[in-house]
Structure formats: structure tokens, C-alpha cells
């Protein structure tokens, strides 16, 4: 569905060198990315600010011309075949509206039907579905400029889907939304992805989006792919482990060792201890502990993907 081979985008920036002189410098925003995305996949694209996520998305949608490399979406080459491709993809740029600012939301949808030449019956059916799933009935007649960000984003999602695209590109669809709106957007996308009719590619800063939606995670940093796989594979690769936190009746004895686990922290006058589980299950670890010290309370903490990703950015930062 989507193929990128050694895709590259260079930008020239002018930097000051002396009072009048400027020096040209070439910066690679995307530095040789090769990826293949199959039909029906849901792929999350993450990376720190300036990593090249949006630039990649813009090359896939025909907005930007690649400096070198090959790219094909739905079998088309984005820039030369931009208008043909536009009929087959949907795009939501979180910070660029597709809607008409001064017109009621419903009017924007009617306009898009003409722009995308969608048969009236198909348009009706898709709009009805989005309206009920996204709860849009009460603000369909409100001018877009008066909508809240959450309402507008629901409008943008609908606008991108009314022509039945094969691929949906979302650039930070949840940016700036409150918790409830984020949930609404996520569950809508999850439902959309579950049908398998649409290939979904989204960039985000919010890892909860990825955990909720995407089987496949692509981490990009400094224009390069630094991870491509499942979230679990990411945890395995960076050996992020579950940890066991216990509150003890008595202080933890000096020199205490738990087979298959490492003691990470001891606090509260040795009444609370945290173990990282390496090669043992939680059950065995608890059993081993209880045998040595009476346990008052315990909890098992799943690895935090934010930490893993932060670690990942830091490692690739080094030159």
C-alpha cells in the first residue's frame, strides 16, 4: 500500500556568518527512510520534535517533493500524481484545517462531496456513520470558527473520511485535546482500523495513542528509523522490565537476594523495596519474598513506554 525506498528530504537553511554574509547549510530532515506498509495496517510514527515525522507524511501525501529516493502510495507517485492520489487518501493535519472557517460544519461536508465527486448515496451513508460514532449532531449547523477544538477535530476526521479513502494519514490527531475528546478520537480510530478497510498511518507525541491503536510502531529520530516493530519488541530490545513493589512488615534484611530479580530501590527505612523482574515470574518472586519477610502489600508495575522511548531518543542523540 505504501512503499518508501531510501527516501530523503534535505532543506537548505541559511545561517548567519558575520554581519552580512550568510552561509548555506544542508539539513537532512528525512535521511534515507525505507519502509513498507501493508493494506489494513495501523502504523504509529513517533519521534521527538523535528525528527522528520511530519516531513515524511508530507512526502507521502504529495505536499513535499522528496530530495531523493522513491515513494509510492496506492501504486501512485505522490507529487506528479497528486490530485489522483488525493481522491484515494484522507489526510488530517492536526494544525491545518480542511474545513471552511466561516461556514457551518455541515456545509463543509457538502462542499467536500463536490470537491471529491462522491455519489450522493455513498456520502450520505458515510456521513451518517460518522455522525453517530462521533456525536456530531448538535454542532453540525455551527460555523466552524465557533467550534471547540475537540468538536473541530471530530469534524476534520469526518472530512477526511467522506470520500472513502484507502489510506488515512493523521498528523498529531490528538494534539491539544482534552482527555474526553482524546478518548472519542481514539475509539473512533480503533473502530475504523478494526474494519480492516483502511490503512492508518499516524504521527503523535502521545504514546497512549500508539498503545491504544497501533500494532506497529516506527520510531524515527534525526530523520532515521531507529525502531520498527511492535511495542513488545521495543520493550524486549531495551530490556524494560516489569517491577515488583512491596511494603514489608519488617525492614528488609541487609544483603537480601531474590533469585531472578534485582533490587532497584529501598525506601521508608527499608520497609519498601522495588525489584526489577529479570528472569523470574511475579508469582515465584512473591513466594520467595514472603518466605523471608512478611509482606503487607504489593503491586506489579508494567514498564512505561514513555521511559523506553525517552531512553531511545537519548541513545540516538549521541553522535
Amino acid at each position: 500500500m505504501i512503499q518508501m525506498r531510501e527516501l530523503r528530504k534535505d532543506f537548505t537553511v541559511r545561517v548567519k556568518a558575520g554581519r552580512f554574509r550568510r552561509k548555506k547549510r544542508t539539513v537532512a530532515a528525512v535521511d534515507g527512510v525505507s519502509l513498507t506498509i501493508e493494506p489494513g495496517e495501523m502504523v504509529g510514527y513517533i519521534g521527538p520534535n523535528g525528527a522528520g515525522k511530519s516531513t515524511t507524511l508530507k512526502m507521502l501525501t504529495g505536499v513535499l517533493t522528496p530530495s531523493s529516493g522513491e515513494v509510492s502510495v496506492c501504486g501512485l507517485t505522490p507529487v506528479p500524481q497528486r490530485t489522483r492520489l488525493a481522491l484515494r487518501i484522507g489526510v488530517v493535519f492536526g494544525q491545518r484545517s480542511q474545513l471552511w472557517w466561516d461556514l457551518p460544519l455541515g456545509e463543509s461536508f457538502r462542499l467536500l462531496r463536490h470537491i471529491y465527486r462522491v455519489p450522493a448515496a455513498d456520502h450520505e451513508a458515510r456521513l451518517r456513520r460518522c455522525r453517530s460514532l462521533l456525536d456530531m449532531d448538535e454542532f453540525l449547523d455551527t460555523p466552524v470558527r465557533q467550534l471547540s477544538l475537540g468538536q473541530r477535530m471530530r469534524g476534520e476526521l469526518t472530512a477526511a473520511l467522506l470520500h472513502g479513502p484507502e489510506v488515512l494519514f493523521l498528523d498529531e490527531p490528538t494534539i491539544g485535546l482534552d482527555v474526553v475528546s482524546k478518548q472519542a478520537v481514539r475509539s473512533f480510530l480503533a473502530e475504523l482500523g478494526a474494519t480492516g478497510d483502511v490503512t492508518l498511518v499516524l504521527t503523535t507525541h502521545d504514546l497512549a495513542d500508539i498503545e491504544r491503536l497501533c500494532e506497529r510502531l516506527v520510531v524515527i529520530d534525526h530523520g532515521r528509523v531507529v525502531h520498527d516493530g511492535t511495542i513488545e519488541a521495543l520493550h524486549a530490545r531495551y530490556s524494560s522490565r516489569r517491577s515488583l513493589v512491596v511494603d514489608l512488615e519488617r525492614p528488609l534484611p541487609e544483603g537480601f537476594e531474590l533469585p531472578g530479580a534485582t533490587l532497584v530501590a529501598v525506601t521508608a527505612e527499608r520497609h519498601r523495596a522495588t525489584f526489577a523482574l529479570e528472569s523470574t515470574g511475579a508469582g515465584a518472586a512473591v513466594a520467595g519474598l514472603v518466605a523471608a519477610v512478611p509482606v503487607r502489600d504489593l503491586s506489579l508495575v508494567e514498564p512505561d513506554i514513555e521511559d523506553v522511548v525517552a531512553k531511545l531518543y537519548r541513545t540516538t542523540d549521541a553522535p
Binding site: F11, N49, G50, S54, T55, K58, T61, G62, V63, L64, T65, V79, R82, T83, R84, A86, L87, I89, V91, F93, G94, Q95, R96, S97, Q98, W100, W101, D102, L103, E107, R110, L111, H114, I115, Y116, R117, P143, D171, E172
Partner: protein, 266 residues
């Protein structure tokens, strides 16, 4: 066919958008006539001081300014707003236009069409009609074609100049008002017979850039006057070709510009 409906829908949306602020729209429509009225008045004022300018009488000069005003006001309404491109490029909002299944330029023009400029166009054509009435034109079939084609060619020519100067923004984001030297400057230049200008200035604007073919040469051809500067009589009839050439150049520049577009972060 489907595309035409799409364009009609875009234009309709723009109409409903501007008319949703009704009073401000009416005020703008009337206020906008001012500029063009003054351009034409200047010509009349000039002729109060002297009976002839550059070898042309008032009636003949009005034909020149009429052709220029009709073509320019029409181009300014239909294409002039491409000037806003620099804002789209600077803020990166051109992205939203580029992901729709229509060519970018017609979309931009229809989305921002300044309908408040309608009265100016009417005024431009009124001046042209008046000029045709006061001049004693010997109507041949060729001249009948020319009186229709010349303002349209002028419109295409000015439209191309608008597109080319707006495209500067793709290479040079802070292009500011540089383009206006050629658009509004061109309008002022074409409002007078080119005989009034100094030699090198005329060589550059009138012939190298082609502004003589907007109003001056067609006016001579309509009046049946020999060109005091020596161009043959048919020079006025090629103005549509000059306009088409300008349009082809504008299309090329635009296309190159779109490929240069670099959007903005996120």
C-alpha cells in the same frame, strides 16, 4: 465536468462566507471602487493642463486607460488574490490545499475570490465603453474581434503577472511588496500611451516585459493610427498571443514553485 461542479462549489462557498458578514461586505464593495476611479481621474486631470500627451488626444488616451482598467480590474478580481500566497507559504497552510484532488492554483483563487472588487470591474468596463463611444472607430470585423479580445487578453496578461510575482514567495518567503512593482506598477504603466516614457524605461517595460501589448498597441489598432514608435499595424492584433505566452510562462513558474514548496514544521 465533475471538476467544474467542484469549482462552482468552491466559488459558492466563498460567496456565502463573505456575505455572512453582510454590512462589512457592502462597505467594502463600495470602498473598493475608489482606487480605480482615481486612476482614471488622473488621466482627465493631466489633460486639463495640456491638450495632448505623447501625441495623443484626451479621447484616444481614454481608450488606452479604458483597455488597461478593464483588463486590470478583471484580473485583479479573478487572480489578484493569489498575492495572498505568501501567507499560505509562510504559515504552511498551503498543505491543506495540496491534499485536495484539484489543482492548487484554481482552488486558491476560488477560495479567496475578492467579490468586494466587483464594482471596480464594472467601472473599468464603463470607462472602456465610454472610450469606444467618444472615439470615431472605423469598425471592421477584425476590430470587432479585437475590442472583445483585447480586454480579455489584458486580463490574462495581468493575471499572469500576478501569478508570477506571487510565486516569488516559493523562493523568497519575505517577498513582501516586491511583486506589486510589476502588478500595480504595470497597471500604472499601461494607463498612458507608451510614447510618454523615457527610452530605456520603455524598452524594458513596454517591449521586453510586453506591457505595450496590454492597452497601447490594441488602442492604436482600434483607432487605425500608425505607431509613432514604428511597430507595424498588426502589432495590436497579436496582444492575445502575447497574453498566452505570458500565461505559459506563469504556469511554468507556478509549477516550479510548487515543487520548491517546503511547508513548515509539524
Amino acid at each position: 465536468m465533475g471538476e467544474l461542479r467542484a469549482y462552482a462549489a468552491l466559488a459558492g462557498a466563498q460567496f456565502r462566507s463573505v456575505t455572512s458578514y453582510r454590512t462589512s461586505f457592502l462597505v467594502e464593495v463600495i470602498g473598493n471602487m475608489g482606487a480605480t476611479v482615481f486612476d482614471v481621474l488622473t488621466v482627465f486631470v493631466l489633460f486639463r493642463a495640456t491638450p495632448e500627451v505623447g501625441g495623443f488626444t484626451l479621447e484616444q488616451a481614454v481608450l488606452v486607460v479604458g483597455l488597461s482598467a478593464a483588463g486590470f480590474t478583471l484580473a485583479d478580481m479573478l487572480v489578484g488574490n493569489v498575492d495572498g500566497l505568501k501567507n499560505y507559504v509562510r504559515t504552511g497552510t498551503l498543505d491543506a490545499v495540496l491534499v485536495r484532488p484539484l489543482p492548487a492554483l484554481p482552488q486558491l483563487l476560488l477560495m479567496d475570490m475578492p467579490l468586494r472588487k466587483t464594482l471596480r470591474v464594472v467601472f473599468g468596463f464603463v470607462v472602456l465603453s465610454g472610450a469606444v463611444a467618444v472615439n470615431d472607430i472605423d469598425w471592421t470585423p477584425a476590430r470587432l474581434v479585437l475590442i472583445v479580445a483585447a480586454p480579455l487578453a489584458a486580463c490574462v496578461f495581468f493575471g499572469s503577472i500576478f501569478v508570477i510575482s506571487a510565486s516569488l514567495a516559493f523562493w523568497w518567503v519575505d517577498s513582501g511588496q516586491v511583486g506589486s512593482a510589476f502588478t500595480y506598477g504595470g497597471r500604472d504603466f499601461t494607463s498612458y500611451p507608451v510614447t510618454v516614457y523615457g527610452e530605456w524605461f520603455r524598452a524594458l517595460f513596454a517591449y521586453a516585459l510586453g506591457f505595450a501589448f496590454v492597452a497601447y498597441q490594441p488602442a492604436l489598432a482600434l483607432l487605425g493610427r500608425a505607431d509613432p514608435l514604428g511597430l507595424p499595424a498588426w502589432a495590436g492584433f497579436v496582444s492575445p498571443l502575447v497574453a498566452l505566452l505570458a500565461a505559459a510562462i506563469a504556469a511554468g513558474v507556478w509549477r516550479a514553485g510548487i515543487r520548491r514548496y517546503r511547508s513548515t514544521g509539524s
